[in-house]
Symmetry: C2
Subunit: 335 residues, 2 copies
């Protein structure tokens, strides 16, 4: 038998433990073309909150009483596929469970000798690619421009800020603790960082961005981003990656309408999801791996140990508890 | 002596007559390289409201106690320039006054034999170019897509909708009276039109846009555009041209934040002003003139007679009184 996590309630507001249920189920047997994998790492991400609602979005909602799924790294226990061997490490969108039966087409092998296995869920995985494509393709940063990143100490934000530094920008991060702010400036080389819990964001931004804002990478929405709009330069770009402050709202999330600011500055605001760039993943992964190898890209992972704490790790995202990528380590990699 | 209109108060909310003053002043004498022109048509436009505020925008604010200016067509009374002759019709950004002294570099001649003089301020002028570039360059309509236009019976909106029909789109207009709604469907060939004063816009849009919305051309902002966001299709485009509902607000204009909608649909929202496209005006004007000549583009002008009514014509814009382009006819063209 193994443990699994099911969604048993669609959360109306901030999810709580009672929306989930830890259940036991048989491990199952792979058929031809399938693998049995043992879960090593589970990725917990803010976007999963959207999938817990009913109604269409860019990916279908989780089924009620179904198993939650996300990016998972597993190790092959038994292979009924020619393409995989016992012991292989694989990456795929798999269930929150200790063992998965995966079709050979829904997973890919990863090489833990090139980079630590967990990085395939963080800096080299969807997280890094989200930062890479959203920032470069929509943000179109130019050397010397001012880039502001919210959720800057989070998984995506911390990579966006570092890519902005690589591109020669003046980079300002917004985060929710002094520890995070120090991490951004001292470890990641941000030019400035703002603690939105203790500072007046509008004033702090004015000081940190004397030349206005050319790119705002949006991870949070809400009041923090409201403070950005009056400081936009002409032809500013706003890749809209996330709006974590809104995900748990029961009521419509009200704020100053943005139209007048966009007109005044001829600015662009564009939502995206990493899936839009799937045809270019190889390009992005290669560039990220190169920067990582050259020491230009640092990453942090907040790893929660033990499958039983997966729900806690997910709920912690909405408390701003994580630095960098949030992962759950379910088991060790066996040699 | 001649009459002029000065801005004597920066309006806090909706402008009123007391914000302006009709004064008398000498007509003046042109120097070398200058012309004396007699005003024929004055363009009154919603964007002028923004210039009545203090503070930077894409064009500088009007000076307090200075003469208002906008697009004007004048007839040359006296020329001290080799490039112009008495009787020529010229177009430029000139003062709200009966006579102007214009430098030869700030005006261009127009040919009233190709199209009526007034069209150089409407369908063939900035208004038409605003519709042309904003809709085609940002909106990127594809045949069969659904296009929604707000302020649809106004100067820009009515042209946007017709270009959308030329491009083979399903076109839905939003306007503020049954007369306007009928004009859009009966005269301009819109597929459907909604009266936002008598209909529930969200419900009416759902019915008029069974396949969702691919392009929303934003002229008004406020509650009307709030109703658009839940209906956006994947990769929708929103050229943000105007937000007339917000221009006169004293308090910040609050509405549902748009980030979550943009993320869910990977949609793009981009502010613009026609000046961004100045290097391509010739291309746009040529295409608009061609469509006009082919009878594919109709236009309406709401013409107020008499210089003394210029302020009224401007204030009427915020009451939704105009159908098509709002102009003031100050004098006749002399043969």
């Amino acid at each position: 038998m193994q443990k699994q996590i099911k969604l048993i309630n669609r959360p109306a507001a901030t999810p709580t433990k009672s929306d989930f249920k830890l259940v036991e189920a048989p491990i199952g047997e792979p058929s031809k073309g399938e693998l049995l994998t043992r879960t090593v790492y589970i990725s917990v991400d803010p976007y999963l909150r959207g999938r817990m609602n009913e109604g269409k979005s860019y990916i279908p909602p989780f089924e009620l009483n179904g198993i939650i799924s996300s990016g998972v790294i597993g190790q092959v226990v038994e292979s009924k596929s020619d393409q995989f061997t016992k012991g292989d490490l694989v990456l795929g969108s798999l269930g929150w469970q200790e063992y998965s039966i995966a079709n050979e087409n829904e997973v890919q092998t990863i090489d833990p000798n090139l980079a630590p296995a967990s990085t395939y869920l963080s800096v080299l995985g969807m997280t890094g690619l989200t930062a890479y494509f959203g920032f470069l393709d929509i943000g179109k940063p130019k050397e010397g421009e001012t880039v502001v990143v919210s959720g800057a100490a989070g998984a995506v934000g911390s990579i966006v800020g570092q890519i902005a530094k690589i591109k020669g920008c003046h980079v300002v991060g917004i985060a929710g603790s002094d520890e995070k702010v120090n991490y951004l400036t001292d470890e990641l080389g941000f030019d400035a960082a703002i603690n939105y819990k203790t500072q007046e964001v509008g004033e702090a931004l004015k000081e940190a961005c004397p030349n206005g804002i050319d790119v705002y990478f949006e991870n949070v929405g809400g009041k923090i981003s409201d403070a950005i709009f009056p400081l936009l330069n002409k032809f500013a770009r706003i890749p809209v990656c996330g709006a974590i402050s809104s995900y748990n709202n029961e009521e419509p999330d009200l704020g100053p309408r943005v139209q007048v600011h966009l007109i005044k500055t001829s600015s662009l605001m564009q939502g995206f999801t990493v899936g839009n760039y799937s045809s270019r993943f190889e390009e992005g992964a290669k560039e990220l791996a190169r920067w990582l190898g050259e020491g230009k890209l640092k990453y942090e992972e907040t790893i929660t140990e033990g499958f039983d704490h997966t729900i806690d790790a997910f709920l912690d995202l909405f408390k701003g508890a994580n630095l960098g990528k949030a992962l759950v380590k379910v088991g060790d990699i066996e040699k």
